[in-house]
């Protein structure tokens, strides 16, 4: 019987590659070898403390399973926002030093983890990856099995290099048609979550394919896989093609392997979408599934716009925002915060002149951080304030006060909304 790409990667990592019967089945529990693992300044301190509690119990020091396959990225509350976060970040730094962990990224080198690790060639096609961060599913865009876990899973993986998984069923999402102007990966995934709901893919793998996906560049593919978790998905995945290989060929730090789904692979469901019918989307408060075309949203006044994050903080996202903002001033009562997701994206955006456009429009540019996405710092909302954000969650109180509101959208919709001071379809903006 045929297997999906997710099943093939998990089978290979469960030590089944040498056997003639190399099959895994949905529902089966396996223990898989991990190619790469990561944690951040919120999740790693707990993992480190768990790691150290095992050392204490055993009465000896333990090494991490592989010093070149662990990344610790302090990106959520960095640059350290207060004494408590400084102490959390210090735990990562001290542990990395003590254990000689190669991929610890301080500010100046760091970036938002899910933009940073692909950019550094640390996560690759065919990999089996866990990260103590829910958006670890992002790397599925490279044709890897990658999923978010908690701190204890990370601690166990740092010791053993393994994790337990239940083989998920897979839902296949097929996108056909031609994308309308301004419609991008973000609109595609918001629309999909709107269609299936925030638990529509619970415990399942989401495999994205079709002509539209083949035509999308890597930044859009990362955005799509990044939000698989918002539909409850275990992982999001896109089969590697020429674009994937072009992306990784000069940056890969290790060998990698291409897997593809068999034609007779079994799917729990197959859903098809005609993207020609989809317009730029917005997810209204307080669930990512609460989607609507931006043009159908009534006059909703906004106070802040955030463009950045592991979902939409890549160079192309910033270029699209700049295309909309060029020659315009943002609304008098709107704050525009732009966060290039990594140090490299920051430098590239500056070299390309994007910063001039952002600054002239009235926006500000922040150093890379997850900050405002989770109401951490660098743009927290007051009671009653509304924010259009290119991030991934619009839960109650997500970006600040419990009575604030978050509207999720693409960089183009976010930029257009910043100009008009209300939720706006980019079609309304004169491109200069």
């Amino acid at each position: 019987m045929g297997m999906t790409i997710t099943e093939k990667i998990l089978a290979a990592h469960a030590g089944k590659k040498q056997e003639a019967m190399s099959q895994v089945f949905p529902g089966e529990l396996i223990e898989a070898d991990l190619d790469f693992i990561l944690g951040n300044d919120i999740t790693a301190p707990i993992a480190i403390s768990e790691f150290e509690s095992v050392e204490k119990e055993k009465g000896r020091e333990l090494d991490v399973f592989d010093k070149e396959r662990v990344a610790l990225v302090p990106d959520h509350f960095t640059p350290n926002k207060d004494v408590k976060s400084a102490e959390q970040c210090k735990i990562l730094r001290d542990f990395s030093r003590k254990k000689n962990i190669k991929y610890y990224f301080k500010i100046g080198e760091m970036g938002v983890e899910h933009a940073l690790l692909p950019e550094k060639g640390l996560v690759l096609p065919g990999d089996c990856i866990i990260g103590a961060d829910s958006h670890t599913c992002t790397y599925g865009a490279l044709g890897a099995f990658s999923t978010g876990v908690g701190s204890t899973d990370l601690a166990a993986a740092m010791i053993r290099g393994k994790a337990w998984f239940k083989i998920p069923e897979t839902i296949k999402f097929v996108y056909n048609g031609t994308l309308n102007k301004w419609v991008c990966g973000k609109d595609l995934i918001l629309y999909t979550i709107g269609d299936i709901g925030v638990d529509g893919a619970l415990y399942k793998s989401m495999e994205f394919c079709g002509d539209v996906i083949s035509g999308l560049e890597m930044h859009d593919r990362f955005t799509i896989c990044n939000m698989a978790i918002e539909a409850g998905g275990k992982n999001g995945i896109i089969e590697p093609d020429k674009k994937t290989l072009d992306y990784v060929k000069n940056i890969a730090k290790r060998d990698y392997k291409i897997y593809k789904s068999d034609l007779d692979a079994k799917y729990a469901d197959i859903r098809e979408y005609d993207m020609s019918k989809i317009k730029p989307q917005v997810s209204l408060p307080h669930l990512p599934s609460n989607t609507k075309p931006a043009s159908d949203v009534d006059n909703i006044q906004i106070d802040q716009v955030v463009i950045g994050s592991c979902t939409n903080g890549r160079l192309r996202d910033l270029e699209i925002a700049a295309e909309v903002l060029k020659g315009h001033k943002i609304h008098q009562y709107v704050r525009l915060i732009i966060l290039p997701a990594t140090q490299k994206i920051y430098a590239d955006a500056m070299k390309k002149g994007l910063f001039d456009i952002f600054l002239e429009s009235g926006g500000i540019i922040s150093t890379p951080t997850c900050g405002p996405c989770l109401g951490g710092h660098m743009g927290v909302l007051a009671e009653g304030e509304r924010c259009v954000s290119t991030t991934n969650r619009n839960f109650v109180g997500r970006m600040g006060h419990v009575k604030s509101e978050v509207y999720l959208a693409s960089p183009a919709v976010a930029a257009a909304s910043a100009i008009k001071g209300r939720i706006t379809d980019p079609e309304e903006i004169k491109i200069k």
């Binding site: 707990i46 876990v149 989770l374 951490g376």
Partner: protein, 168 residues
């Protein structure tokens, strides 16, 4: 393992930002986290929770981020177990890994109201609603998960598998 406690009932899709808002994630101290547990959807929870109380929720409990602070804050608050129609998968893993019992049982969820006294027998997988005088059977965990739980969580299990001295 048996627990008896009163019900705290919640809706579908209770997310990790509601269980423990990110503004408190600059610490991983369980006590401090427990003080803010459920704060944004139920300010009375952290104040009035009693040891062994039980959270009952509908679909997709614990959706959102991977923060283990969510099950940690619930466990530290004194909750003995969570019964829901379904759990978000990272929350499910995290709860098992830290030894916070969770059960899936639609019928028990449907009938339970806030304040009902429930009695849960974890090894038998049975739930009694003593207020309504009804009993239910929950979906059993797979074998491997039961092993993790009986070992006392993932790290205890990992520790057991490690040799006491390097090279052994």
């Amino acid at each position: 393992m048996k627990f008896k406690g009163k019900t705290w009932k919640y809706k579908d899709n209770v997310n990790t930002d509601e269980i423990i808002p990110a503004r408190y994630l600059n610490t991983s101290d369980p006590k401090e986290l427990a003080e803010h547990c459920m704060e944004d959807i139920d300010a009375s929870f952290a104040k009035e929770i009693e040891k062994d109380d039980i959270i009952v929720a509908q679909e997709n409990f614990g959706c959102g981020s991977s923060r283990e602070h969510a099950p940690i804050s619930i466990k530290e608050a004194g909750v003995s177990c969570i019964i829901a129609n379904s759990f978000a998968r990272i929350f499910y893993r995290n709860s098992i890994n830290i030894g916070l019992p969770i059960l899936e049982c639609k019928e028990a969820v449907k009938d339970a109201d806030k304040g009902d006294i429930l009695e849960v027998d974890l090894s038998a997988g049975t739930i009694l609603n003593l207020t309504k005088n009804k009993s239910y059977k929950s979906t059993p965990f797979p074998q491997f998960i039961q092993e993790l739980i009986s070992a006392g969580g993932l790290m205890k299990w990992v520790s057991k598998t490690l040799p006491p001295v390097k090279g052994d």
